[in-house]
Structure formats: structure tokens, C-alpha cells
Amino acid sequence: MDEIDKEILWSTQDGIGLEERPFLHAARRLRISEEEVVARLRRLGQNGVVRRFGTRINPRKADLMANAVVVWNVPGTRVAEIGAAMAESPDVTHCYERRTIPGRWEYNLYTVLHCRDKEDALRRVAALSRATGVADYRVLFSTEEFKRRPSGRIEPAKEPGRVQ
């Protein structure tokens, strides 16, 4: 990733315009062509810096009203297998193994599901439980969102010579 790549990410990470030529602004600022801007974004996608290029959706506004974190207590020897199986499910957007706190919190596998409503979520969670044989789990529904923003952000370049 070079400085131009960073500038492109910095100027597009909060959203491109809904206009005919949404990359024109970044291109002019960096004095490169729009073709180069999109070619660089494509390359950043190929080498994994950009996981994907597309919309961030507000699930609640798209009729997905239930956001559930499900914490599962999975036997240590089966974490890899069950983690991979849960990750396969299209209902699951996040699947992580996390450290436990022995004696206080034994849940080691975490999944996030976005579903139409609580009943829909509980049905899907029950199906995951049946499919994997993990019976010790808790479903934590969100009831209020205090903050939600992308976790990976790029900071603006600091050097004084930056193209404005």
C-alpha cells in the first residue's frame, strides 16, 4: 500500500457519492485518472486490504430487526470443527473463538446473527445447536445501539505536502 492508495482509502472510506462519477473527486484531488482510482481499489481488494467494496447496510432498516450475539460453550477439541461449521451458515455474519474466564465465563465461541425478528433468530439458533450438538449457549439480543461504526479505518496522511 503506497501513499496514493492510502489517500484513496481515506477519501472513500466514509462513502462515495451517489452521482454519475463518484470517483472524480478523489481522482482530481490526487491528480490521477478515475480509471487509476478504481484500478487501485481493485488491487487493494485482490491483496486483501479491502475486504470488499460495497454498501454498509443498516439491518434494522432492511427489516432485519433482531441482532443476536450467541455465545456457545464448545468442547476445546471441537472448536475448529464447530467454528467452521457455524461460519458456513449464511445466517451468521461473525464467528469468533474468544478467550474464556475459567470459573466465571466458559463460553468460547461467538456468533452474530441478523434476523427478521426474535422468533426467527431463536429458530435459526436452535437449528445451529441441533446441527452441531452444542446445547450450552446463550442468546443475547441487542435492545439499544449506542455506537456502530467500521472497525478498520485509515488515518489521513500527516505530511505537509499532501495534495488538497
Binding site: 486483501g48 470488499r52 454498501t55 461460519a87 461473525h94 469468533y96 478498520g152
Partner: protein
């Protein structure tokens, strides 16, 4: 929130397969049989209604300097919830912060350049919010199985049979 079949088709495409092209909305329109202007109008409308947060590159946290991340759960007295959530929200490293319907009722993520910075943020949050360690679970990531926040917008009726 009413989404007509064309909105759903457009959302699905914009989410899964956004064309990196200097005129992306024209390319989308060609794929969906819709004029460029209509694509822009529909997306603008979805954006005004809050369904779309933005269209942007989604960065891989590990590629933009994030080496450590954790999920924290706290037991917060109900009457202090908004005050404590406000303290948590102040930190840039906090990307998600939700109230959840559990004994542990506040759940947030912290991402940082390293373990030390991450623990520093957590300790400061605990000190400022006066939540004792016995009411806090620090659950760092051990392994990521999946991170793919994409949704299905097409219902069975308007689905074109495509897998994703």
C-alpha cells in the same frame, strides 16, 4: 420499511458485486436493465431512508494497523446505563457498543494497535465508569472463523436462484 423488488435486487447487487468502474451506477443499471439515473435515484432514496449507510471500501482491520481486538461485557446498574455507555463511546477504538438483554447488559468491542494499548483503554473505561472488575468480562479474540456482514434481500419469490 417498504422495499420493492427492484430495491431488493439493487441492494443485493450493490452489496455483493459493486462494479469498480468510473461509472459504477451505469454498469449496475446495465446489469439490472435500469437507466443510470434510476439507479442513482433509488440508491439516494435508500440512503435517505437509512437502509444504506454508505457505499465504501470495507477495510481489513489487520491491514490498517489493528493487531488486537476484544469484546467486553459489563454489568451496569440500569440507572447508570446511558452515562456508562457515553463514556465507552468516547473512545475511537470502540466500534460497536450495544445494550443487550442479559445479566451482562453492556457489550462493546475495542480494537487497538496492540494488546497494551487495548488494555490501557479498557482500564481507563473501568476506572472512569467505576465498574468493578468482578462485573467486567474481557473476551479477546483467539481465532476468527468468519467476518462477512452481508444480507439476503431477495425473498424466495424474487430470488433468481443464485447462491451467495
Amino acid at each position: 420499511m417498504h422495499l420493492d423488488p427492484l430495491d431488493r435486487m439493487l441492494l443485493q447487487r450493490v452489496q455483493d458485486d459493486f462494479p469498480l468502474d468510473p461509472r459504477p451506477y451505469r454498469v449496475l443499471g446495465e446489469a439490472l436493465g435500469m437507466p443510470e439515473r434510476e439507479v442513482i435515484e433509488r440508491l439516494s432514496d435508500l440512503s435517505r431512508r437509512g437502509v444504506i449507510r454508505h457505499i465504501a471500501p470495507i477495510l481489513e482491520p489487520g491491514c490498517v494497523g489493528i493487531r488486537s481486538s476484544t469484546l467486553v461485557a459489563m454489568r451496569v446498574p440500569e440507572e447508570r446505563m446511558h452515562e456508562v455507555a457515553g463514556i465507552v463511546n468516547e473512545y475511537d477504538g470502540v466500534s460497536h457498543n450495544y445494550r443487550r438483554d442479559d445479566d451482562y447488559n453492556l457489550w462493546f468491542t475495542i480494537a487497538a494497535a496492540g494488546e497494551e494499548e487495548l488494555l490501557g483503554i479498557l482500564e481507563e473505561i473501568m476506572r472512569r465508569s467505576m465498574i468493578p472488575p468482578g462485573d467486567v468480562l474481557n473476551l479477546p479474540v483467539v481465532r476468527r472463523f468468519k467476518l462477512d456482514v452481508r444480507f439476503r434481500f431477495l425473498t424466495e419469490e424474487d430470488d433468481d436462484g443464485r447462491d451467495r
